[in-house]
Assembly symmetry: C2
Homo-oligomer: 226 residues x 2
DNA sequence: TGATTGTTCTTCGTATACACTTTGTCCCGA
DNA sequence: TCGGGACAAAGTGTATACGAAGAACAATCA
C-alpha cells in the first residue's frame, strides 16, 4: 500500500525514525500510552516493527518535545502533565497565540482569510452534526492555520508543539469543550480579516482565557496514573 | 532539593549523547562549525571520540532545536539563521521574556533578587575590566536566571533555547554590544524587585527592543557561508 | 558540448555484542 | 516476622559491522 507510493515518489523517503516519532506522539496524545507508563526500547521497537536505533532516536526527540521523560540508565516513561504545568502552558500559549493573531491580522491575504472562513464553516456544520472528533480536529487545524499565516516559523513551531501538548491534556481529561469555542473563533477570524492587530490580539487572548478555564475544569477530575 | 535525590540515585553518569549534544551546540554557537558546513556522522564521531550512535541521537535533538538541518539521506548541515528569522526570533523572544519578567516580578523572593543583584555587580566589574567574554557570559546567566525565577518550566525551556540561538547570531556577527546592555539590566532587576509586573514587563520590552536593534546592526554585515 | 553512466561517499536501518545499572527476588539470619 | 544481602534478570549505553539505497561527482561516449 503506502510502500508503493513512497517508492514511486522516491525522493521523499520519510526516515523510519520520523515515522516512529509521529506514531509515538499520536499514541501518547491519544492516550494509548498513558502518563507514567514505562516505554522500553525493545517494546516500542516491537510495537512499531523496527529495530532499536530508530526508536532511540525518536525517543530523544520526544524527550526534547516534552512527551516523554528519560531517566538515565532507566529508560523512558510517558511524561505526566501536572496541573501546575497546564497553567504554565496556557500562560505561554496565550502570549504566543496573541502574537500569532496580530501577525496574521497584519499579513493575511484574502486567500488566507477565505481558508479560515472555510474552516469556520466546516466547524459549524460538524458542531451541528455533533461530530465532536471532527470539531476537535477542525479546531486544531484552524489554530495551526493561523500560526502558519503569521509567517513566523519560530512562533509557528513553538506554538505548534505547545498546542499538541494542550490537545494531549484535553484528551486525557474528557470532554472537548466543543460548543462555545466556535463563537470565539469567529470573533478571532473577523479580527484577523479586519487587519487590526490590536483587535486580533485581544480576540486571541479572550479565546485563550476561555480555553484555559475549560482546561482547568477538565483537569479537576485528574488524569494520568503515576 | 531534587538534585540530591538524583545524585543519591547514582544517575550522574551523563550519557555520551548528552555530552556530544552539548559539545555540538557550543561548537556551533562558538562558530567552530559554520552555517552551511556539512556535518558527517563519521566526522563528528571522530571529533568527539565516540561511536556513531551517540552522534546520531545528538544530531536528531540538535535538529529539533534548530541548530542543524537534516536532509534525508544527505546528512546534516549547520543551520543558517537568515536575517528574516532573526526578526522572527526577536518577535517571539520579546513576548516570552516580557512574560518571564512579569512572573519573576510577581514571584521573586529576596534571595532571588539578591542573586540578580550579584550578577549585576559582577557584570559591572567585568565591563570595567573590558572583559567582554565574561560580560557576555554574565548577560546570559542573568537572563537565564530571570527565566528560572519565573518558575514556568515551559517558558523557561523555550526561551532558553531561543536565547541560545540569539547568542549564536551574536557570535556570528561580531561585537557583543556590551556597554548599553547593563543599564537596561539594572532597570529590569529594579522592576523585578519592585514586584510590579507591568513595570517589569515594560523594562523587558525596552531591553529587548534595544537588543534587537543591535542584533540587526550586527546582522547587516552578513554572516554565514553558504 | 551535452547527456549518460559508473563510482564513491554517506546516510539509513538492522543486527549483535557486551559492560554496567537498576531492579526484583529469594534466601538467610536475627 | 522482618530486615539485609547475594544473586539473577531486565534494560540501557555504547561500539561495531554490514547491506541497501540515495546523492554527488567524475568519466565516458555520442
Amino acid at each position: 500500500m503506502a510502500e508503493d507510493l513512497r517508492d514511486k515518489l522516491g525522493a521523499q523517503h520519510l526516515p523510519l525514525r520520523d515515522q516512529v516519532l509521529a506514531a509515538l506522539r499520536t499514541a501518547i496524545i491519544d492516550g494509548d500510552y498513558l502518563p507514567g507508563e514505562r516505554l522500553t526500547e525493545d517494546r516500542l521497537a516491537e510495537d512499531f516493527g523496527v529495530s532499536r536505533n530508530p526508536v532511540r532516536e525518536a525517543l530523544r526527540v520526544a524527550e526534547a518535545e516534552g512527551f516523554v521523560v528519560i531517566l538515565p540508565r532507566r529508560g523512558a516513561v510517558v511524561a505526566s502533565p501536572s496541573s501546575g504545568t497546564i497553567a504554565d502552558m496556557f500562560a505561554v500559549r496565550e502570549r504566543l497565540e496573541a502574537l500569532a493573531a496580530r501577525l496574521a491580522a497584519e499579513r493575511a491575504t484574502a486567500a488566507d482569510v477565505a481558508s479560515l472562513r472555510a474552516l469556520l464553516e466546516q466547524g459549524r456544520e460538524a458542531t451541528q452534526r455533533q461530530d465532536l472528533a471532527r470539531v476537535a480536529e477542525l479546531n486544531s487545524t484552524l489554530h495551526l492555520r493561523i500560526l502558519q499565516i503569521s509567517g513566523n516559523p519560530w512562533l509557528s513551531s513553538i506554538a505548534k508543539s505547545l498546542y499538541l501538548h494542550v490537545q494531549w491534556v484535553f484528551r486525557l481529561g474528557a470532554a472537548e469543550r466543543a460548543p462555545h469555542s466556535w463563537a470565539e473563533h469567529i470573533q478571532l477570524v473577523d479580527a484577523i480579516e479586519s487587519g487590526d492587530g490590536d483587535r486580533a490580539e485581544r480576540a486571541a487572548l479572550d479565546h485563550l482565557d476561555a480555553a484555559s478555564a475549560a482546561a482547568f475544569e477538565n483537569a479537576e477530575g485528574g488524569y494520568g496514573t503515576r
